[in-house]
């Protein structure tokens, strides 16, 4: 375990880093809700301050001799006998990398939003929630214990709900927000149980138990070695904790909320539903990798869920017509890669892909946002020839797409290759699944590119977006290109690895085949897309129904949950709680008082009789003494 040492200066920096967006959010809600300019400036200032502090801390970290530093500064937040919750910041390479991504990409997206949301009526509310989101995300990332992590986890879910439903007057947006919230609650239920179980096994007496990451890591292996914790219990805890990432990182079968989340504003999709929040699940897996790694069953479950999510969502992206939804499925698929990497035993590969994905997927989303801004259209069939009317946007989209495909030299190539090499070593089936996913990825993004950006225009009057939008696009494009040369795995403590030529060749061929096919079908019209759809009608319609998972959930909710479970609860409430419990007490009181009221006749003579009996009783009592 690394030594914990934190100078007052870095402590101050890290607290500023965490709290700046919260202060900005509070100020916006208090003073800026009717002042658009102030709100945007406050949000940007908060975010850039955070990013500046993160860079400063990073600079300090690079001066350390070892890369295994872990700085912590925390305050006691609430304390009951035997249980203390602290709130603080934990800075190690993992959290620092994630902080840089969140604040860096966040700053660019905040800047982009000022132009994208210019005409929006709820401009200030948008920035208020976005700042609150930044704070919540940093709460997760910098958390030194499970409780703070869970609080941040729920807060980002809440902000995500608010932002998906930003245009709440639109029924589909309101529904999508609700769906995201509900699906995440299902997952978080398991997650919370996992945290409680972890607390339960972390010691024998209440005073010894802890939810602190480092204390757990120091203590649990000994407890397991001594046989105090059975391995089956450990597997259960691991699987329950994995429920959290399944929900937040939208893995199968709880992925259904993420495509619908595209109802929110596009910068939100870029920041929350592509670059940062959905990556929180992967971050969590990396943060407590040692815990998951102690149970092989948990680890292989994680790997398979990730691998299946990757290929199943890549298939869905192939039949999607909505530009943003294609990117959403692509996000699901890439998150699947990351989860699979963790499951296969390399959190560093997962974090590496998370970082590069944050760059190129934010880029793709912001480019898509620019397209929507310029054309008010997001169905790729109605777009076309954007390459000429929107050169900057198209260029950025092309770079993002190539990085996503894993074309050599771009950031996506390095990180995806790290995962493929890992899969090649560990699990042949998952390896081929991942390679097929790479091919499919190239195909669907090629399809989006050839349909929307080349070909003929469909009469939409496209215009290039203002520089305040293309500026962040260019920066992200540069990051997407150079992301592979920044030494991210080295910073996380991974030695430089040699290139595995066979894997490189396979992945490049898969991407090449995918791109070539999409070019032949959608660029050259060498094969007719309509004929292909007709020839593959059955699998096509199955994919268009999204494997029927949404229908299954609907059927489950309406026919089983509403009828039986909710029906029983309603009956129990009406019959037992209301009739016997609430009304029962009322009736008992009523009749008891009726009985007592008989005493009160209102006739003086009755009272006199009572009085007489009382006096006689008293006299009798006195005489007996």
């Amino acid at each position: 375990m690394p030594d914990i040492h934190l100078s007052p200066f870095i402590s101050c920096l890290s607290w500023t880093l965490l709290l700046a967006p919260l202060i900005a959010a509070s100020a916006i809600w208090l003073f800026g809700i009717h002042r658009r300019r102030l709100a945007a400036n406050l949000a940007l200032t908060g975010m850039v301050t955070s990013f500046g502090c993160a860079l400063w801390v990073f600079d300090q970290a690079l001066r350390q001799h070892s890369h295994a530093f872990a700085w912590e500064s925390s305050v006691e937040w609430l304390s009951v006998p035997g249980f203390t919750v602290s709130f603080g910041v934990l800075l190690d390479p993992l959290s620092l990398l994630m902080t840089l991504i969140v604040t860096g990409v966040g700053s660019l997206i905040f800047l982009y939003s000022t132009a994208y949301m210019k005409a929006d009526a709820a401009f200030s509310r948008y920035f208020g929630v976005l700042s609150l989101f930044a704070f919540s995300m940093l709460t997760i990332v910098l958390s030194p214990n499970w409780i703070q992590l869970f609080i941040g986890w729920e807060l980002v879910g809440f902000c995500s709900y608010l932002l998906i439903g930003h245009w709440y007057a639109k029924p589909s947006a309101a529904e999508a927000g609700k769906k995201a919230f509900m699906v995440n609650r299902v997952a978080d239920c398991g997650f919370l149980l996992g945290i409680l179980a972890l607390w339960g096994i972390s010691g024998s007496a209440a005073s010894e138990r802890t939810l602190h990451f480092h204390s757990l890591q120091a203590r649990l292996p000994d407890l397991i070695a001594s046989g105090a914790i059975p391995s089956s219990l450990l597997t259960l805890v691991g699987l329950l904790l994995f429920c959290g990432p399944i929900g937040k990182s939208a893995q199968f079968p709880l992925h259904v909320w993420l495509p619908d989340a595209m109802e929110g504003p596009t910068p939100v999709s870029a920041l929350i539903h592509a670059a940062t929040m959905v990556a929180a699940g992967v971050y969590l897996l990396c943060r407590s990798f040692w815990l998951f790694a102690m149970s092989p069953v948990t680890l292989s479950t994680i790997a398979w869920v990730g691998g299946l999510s990757a290929i199943l969502s890549a298939l869905l992206a192939v039949v999607e017509q909505d530009l943003k939804r294609i990117l959403a499925y692509s996000t699901l698929s890439q998150l699947g890669y990351m989860v699979m990497a963790v499951g296969l035993g390399s959190p560093i590969a997962g974090m590496y892909h998370l970082s590069t994905h944050a760059f190129f997927k934010a880029l793709l989303f912001l480019a898509a946002g620019s397209v929507i801004h310029g054309t008010h259209q997001q169905d790729i069939r109605k777009l076309g020839a954007l390459r000429r009317s929107m050169p900057w946007t198209s260029g950025s989209f092309a770079i993002g797409s190539l990085a996503l495909c894993g074309i050599p030299g771009l950031s996506g190539f390095f990180s995806k290759d790290a995962i493929l090499v890992l899969a090649h070593e560990r699990n042949a089936i998952l390896y081929w699944l991942a390679v097929s996913t790479a091919g499919l990825t190239a195909f669907y993004i090629g399809r989006a590119w050839f349909v929307a950006f080349t070909g003929t225009s469909h009469g939409t009057h496209a215009h290039e977006s203002p520089p305040i939008m293309t500026g962040p696009l260019s920066i992200l494009a540069v990051l997407s290109i150079v992301g592979g040369y920044l030494g991210i795995p080295h910073f996380l403590g991974h030695p430089n690895e040699t290139i595995h030529w066979q894997v490189v060749f396979t992945s490049i061929s898969a991407a090449g085949i995918g791109l070539a096919l999409s070019w032949l079908i959608y660029g050259r019209h060498w094969l007719s897309a309509q004929k292909l759809v007709l020839a593959l009608a059955v699998p096509y319609s199955f994919l268009q129904r999204r494997y029927g998972i949404d229908e299954f959930y609907n059927a489950y909710v309406t026919h089983i949950q509403q009828r039986f479970i909710a029906g029983f609860c309603a009956w129990f409430e009406r019959a037992c709680i209301i009739r016997i419990g609430v009304n029962g007490i009322a009736w008992t009181t009523y009749y008891a008082s009726w009985l007592i009221r008989l005493w009160q006749t209102g006739k003086v003579q009755t009272y006199a009789l009572t009085f007489l009996i009382g006096v006689l009783g008293l006299i009798f009592h006195l005489i007996r003494q």
Binding site: Q600, T601, Q605
Partner: protein, 100 residues
């Protein structure tokens, strides 16, 4: 020879009759009369004790009781008149406005 006990027995009998009158009779005037009966039972007991123990205090108390009884009767009769005017009845059973 009439002893103290004889007087007290008469007094107790009068008192019991008074109580019975209050409890049984329904006419307010009769109830007032029964109350007078109880006063006089008490007066008789006072006088009997005053005679037996040769103490004038008992007789003084009786004068007080008679005075108070006179005052009480005025109030009682006033209530009776008001009742007959307001509720048009002197039946105690029909007067149950004290009921909670």
């Amino acid at each position: 020879m009439l002893t103290l006990t004889h007087y007290l027995i008469v007094s107790a009998a009068l008192f019991a009759m008074g109580i019975a009158g209050i409890l049984i009779r329904r006419n307010i005037l009769m109830i007032l009369l029964a109350i007078e009966l109880m006063f006089n039972a008490a007066n008789l007991a006072f006088i009997a004790y005053a005679r037996a123990w040769a103490d004038l205090g008992g007789q003084i108390a009786v004068f007080f009781v008679i005075t108070v009884a006179a005052a009480e009767v005025t109030v009682g009769l006033a209530i009776a008149i008001l009742l007959s005017r307001q509720l048009n009845t002197l039946n105690a059973d029909e007067v149950s406005r004290l009921k909670g």
